[in-house]
Amino acid sequence: MQLPPVTRSLRFRLSGLTSALVFSVAGLALAVIYYVTLRAVQSLTVTGSTLEPVLIDGERLAVRLTQVEMRTIESLIKEVVLNQLAVWTIGILLALFALSLIVGWVIASRSLRPIDEITSVARDIQATDLDRRIGLDGPDDELTRLANTFDAMLDRLSGSFRSQQRFLAHTSHDLRTPLAVIRSNLDVISNDPGATLEDWRQTGEVVERAADRISVMVDDLLAVARKELAGATLTAIDPAQIVTELVSDLGPTARSDGVVIESDMPTDPITVMADPDMLRRALGNLIDNAVRESPAGGAVSLVLRRVGDWTYLGVVDEGPGIDVELALNGDNGDGGMGLGIVRQIVAIHAGRFSAVVRPEGGSVLSIALPDDPDPASAPIGGERLLELYGSPGTHEPGLPTDDTR
């Protein structure tokens, strides 16, 4: 027989056990008192009136009736019974006190044992082995839930720890390339006795370009680091406004590269919990990336959609199609740390970053932001994303344009 779930909780078991114990001990005490009182009453011989033969004047036999007063009997019974009752009640109370101490001790230590376990594991877990979990066995009670919550917190911690490590690895990789450019060019030119002034001038230009790249990366890096230290301030914002701003800010530069930036947004207002500066930077990096990928004459579309509890911000390009694995986990070549920063910002928002190559060419890089920072639902997958964003410039009928809840 399956017991209802409430019976598995620690609260239920503790209260059940305590109540059973109190009930049976109290019952036992009452039974003992009753029995003792009964015995006392039974053993009491009331010799109320007596008849005894007496001789009157030495020869006449008479019967003398001695009458005890009812009041005397009554007080006798009261005295015996009450005395017994008082002695036994005090004795049993003392015994109960000792017994309850012992029983309480046993119950408390039994129920608290898992907490000790949680404490000792938690104490052992250092930043270096965030992969350890408590993994408490046992019924689905308050303590198991506590341990599971703790484990879930560790999951999140180790996830963000790992993403930081990855970010650091990529950052150092991306910084090394322009440093290598500077170092090799200087090494080669300064060891060339025949180098002309023109050679030096060219080297100067190369070094300047590399230094510019480094300073852009350092700016990006510091911006993210500062935000992370200060903590992202998530406020309710209108992503459509950011998209519009970005299109007008980045449009002219892209146009000079022969790429058009378009936006495609639903008419209904959308709000999302995000840090506006960070979201702008992330989307800006995605647009930079898309413009770089695009052939001359291509279009980059910024698409905003809502599905379920998620808001999707996608950047669609007509380039040759990005290396998905590289975009999601790897380094992003000569584009500075663009996508690394995007991944980091998305992680801070508890969102998801995805990259999909469209069968007809081009790719969709998108950010999904949840309404609830602790999302219960998962965002939609790559196939549905493609459907959601369609092809740039074409608005096929039947595409979800808004909340499809």
Partner: protein, 223 residues
């Protein structure tokens, strides 16, 4: 020695090519996996310097495809491979070397170290001594110094590279085409007499008795 630099960062590739050419090597460059594949399948390179991240794939994959024979290299000898990358983790180094790379250098690097590693890789087949010697000729690639009977030879960069190639392949008859292939880069015009002229200049500088013989119709040999 004929080298191929596979690097998609133009500012870096040009510096490496320039520095190696000054060291007397014949150097070509490729900026993508596909260009590199074409290059190794048409020219016999002694060494390929390979970047990890290229716009159309990973250098490490190209390296393992060369080693497995999936990418056919021109000529009889497979080129040495030196991975030159900004990836510095132990896992990446292991992966690169396991893919068949002969050496691994992390960016940013000192150019002198790159040159030293290139020299070390190139002499690996030649017995391992950093200084070559044949008869009374000695040649020290690191110091850019060649002597005959203790007398220093005033060689140009190209003559030095030519002598080095002769010394590494002593006793072998080397055709003009082969010399052009290994000592000159892809910019050299195969229809000029540049090989003949350089060989004759080198001969003059080496002095008597002549160390380099002409084998009519086949080429030259250093004895």
């Amino acid at each position: 020695m004929r080298l191929l630099v596979v690097e998609d960062e133009p500012d870096l590739a040009s510096a490496i090519v320039r520095g190696l050419v000054r060291g007397g090597h014949a150097v070509d460059s490729a900026a993508s996996v596909i260009d590199a594949e074409l290059a190794v399948s048409t020219v016999e390179y002694d060494l390929v310097i390979l970047d990890w991240n290229l716009p159309d794939g990973r250098g490490v994959d190209l390296c393992s495809r060369i080693r497995s024979g999936e990418v056919e290299t021109f000529g009889t000898l497979e080129p040495k491979v030196l991975m030159l990358t900004a990836r510095d983790s132990i896992e990446d180094r292991v992966m690169g070397l396991d893919a068949g790379a002969d050496d691994y250098l992390v960016k940013p690097f000192a150019f002198a170290e790159l040159e030293a590693r290139v020299r070390a890789l190139l002499r690996r087949d030649a017995g391992g001594s950093p200084v070559l010697s044949v008869g009374d000729l000695t040649l020290d690639p690191a110091a850019f110094q060649a002597t005959r009977s203790g007398r220093a030879l005033p060689l140009t960069v190209k003559e030095f590279a030519l002598l080095e190639y002769f010394m590494r392949n002593r006793g072998e008859v080397l055709s003009q085409e082969r010399l052009l292939e290994h000592v000159w880069d892809e910019m050299a015009d195969p229809f000029t007499n540049t090989v003949r002229v350089t060989v004759s200049n080198l001969r003059k500088k080496l002095g008597e008795p002549s160390a380099i013989e002409t084998v009519p119709g086949r080429g030259y040999v250093l004895r």
